[in-house]
Symmetry: C2
Subunit: 305 residues, 2 copies
DNA sequence: GAAATAGTGTCTGTGAGACATTATTTA
DNA sequence: TAAATAATGTCTCACAGACACTATTTC
């Protein structure tokens, strides 16, 4: 049936006909999800410093089969034909973390033609944040060795600005290092931002890849940026804290995310309206106890004040 | 061949075999793009006020066939199996606007199972901004009537906050109105934000739909929010201005996007470093002429100051 | 000079950033 | 009392917001 004739049908007839003759005319990609699941963990290391240190970790899974066999990949999976992406993500989050209702937000959809050698896979990536206290210990089952939390470190190796003829070219070379007990994976990512007039275009390429599967180093970096970008003006970081927490602990979570130390007074002023004093205290050492707070459910981010 | 046996092959053999037997095991969705293309246009209306007024417009296309026949939809199309989403978007932007290198940024990927009655379509939406001066007049061809710029108005009809048991439920009822010469399309969108602890989830439903196809009212609203959210701390608005512009004009672009008036002094201070004086002036009426500025290519957004 | 808009000077309040001080605990 | 960390007081500086004023044009 010609396209023209199709349009003379009623809507119901059209759709019936479309499903028969048009629906599978073109080859389609698969849709997958990739989730950068983060937690802030307390370092086990007992070094000289008394102050407990925390670190940002991401969950990775060792690839048991081709492609990228043996490399570490983000959690994720294929979207079923009868579910939407959000449902797939919540299903997979529950599977991987064992926790219900984990915070997740959509990041970006990756669609490079060659991002998977098997076939065309378009991936919708998500940023997920879990409170470490809620996490069950990683399953000690047969594949315990294949699911791990990696400490995340990123470092700008090189930063170059070039202004040519009204076009600003900014090149950043960023090293991403992921460390688990005995395993270290890493990547070097080159990020080029071309600003022509006010039109900003960013091209990202992975120039070195050691043990990180697919384009996942890029996705992890992107999720880090999103996390850092939102930490200061949303409640996003509270998803990484327990029900009750001390302000010094909360501050450490912020510091671990931002990768720098924060001023105490300023930090407390900043979160003042986001927390409620529980009236409880907690003693953690040979010094003044901390007050316990909880998240203030009534807090609203007044976008434009 | 069993999954187990597949994994004993070399990577090349595996992929070859995968493409033969595994690749099309499951039904796949189609990938489409939807683009909210905005421009800021100068009102033709000559009312009593001398000050020229601008308005925010979005490009819509009348659907010639089922489904949503006769309704207005965002520009877009299917992603080819040999191109990535960005390429598809740039191709379609050129087709629709006639302009090369239009600013476009990825917004969100929509995947509701029933968002298209024909088949499963996952849509990657984009926000695009074009300078009106660069736009050729809409093609006067046979389908000139099918492509139009609509003035965008949105209004919060109702806003309710409810705090139940540590869970904050914020419900906003928003009216979106799109006006072209003789055509008006509109929708009422209900946006519910559920904040449980710090975990924010937003559910959006279209409760009334008049002449806007698919879930496109939702996408337009989402793109408006993104535009407003970025206007104050990026150079995004400059994509809506010409090569050279006056500060009063630039301020109007900001005002039209934000939907409110801005303080002149404060605005000028805000954009001070983003613009360069061209030394030229432009006379537009019986009053002091405006200086012409251009975008300052050397401006960089120092993310954390 | 009147009308209209462009552009500048300056006061005020808020909030970020930094430094200093006090408070509370245990050894 | 020393050591360690929690919590608060307060100074400074940058900037957002507002108001008032000056500048330039045409009629």
């Amino acid at each position: 049936m010609e396209e023209k004739d199709l349009q003379n049908l009623s809507e119901t007839e059209f759709i019936e006909q479309y499903k028969k003759t048009e629906k599978d005319k073109y080859e389609k990609p698969s849709i997958a999800t990739d989730m950068a699941i983060f937690t802030v963990a307390t370092k086990k290391v007992t070094d000289n410093r008394k102050k407990a240190d925390k670190e940002l970790q991401v969950l990775l899974i060792r690839r048991g089969g081709h492609p990228y066999k043996g490399d570490w990949a983000l959690a994720g999976g294929f979207m079923g034909i009868d579910e939407d992406v959000e449902t797939a993500v919540q299903r997979e989050l529950k599977e991987e973390t064992g926790v219900d209702g984990v915070y997740a937000e959509q990041l970006y959809t990756w669609s490079a033609v060659d991002r998977d050698p098997r076939m065309r896979i378009v991936s919708v990536s998500y940023l997920a944040l879990v409170d470490q206290e809620k996490l069950p210990p990683l399953q000690a089952g047969d594949d315990a060795d294949d699911v791990r939390w990696f400490t995340v470190k990123d470092r700008v190796m090189e930063s170059r600005d070039e202004l040519v003829d009204g076009t600003m070219i900014k090149t950043d070379k960023i090293e991403l290092t992921l460390i688990s007990d005995e395993v270290t994976a890493s990547a070097v990512i080159e990020k080029t931002t071309i600003t022509e007039g006010a039109n900003v275009k960013t091209v990202v390429t992975i120039s070195e890849r050691n043990g990180i599967a697919f384009d996942h180093a890029e996705i992890i970096l992107y999720s880090l940026e999103r996390l850092r970008g939102k930490v200061n003006y949303t409640n996003i970081a509270f998803n990484l804290a327990g029900e009750e927490f001390t302000l010094p602990d909360l501050q450490q979570i912020y510091e671990v995310i931002l990768g720098r130390e924060l001023n105490k007074v300023q930090f407390r002023r900043h979160v003042e309206n986001m927390v409620v004093d529980t009236g409880k205290e907690i003693k953690t050492g040979a010094y003044r106890p901390s007050k316990l707070y909880r998240y203030n459910a009534a807090w609203v981010y007044d976008q434009w004040k």
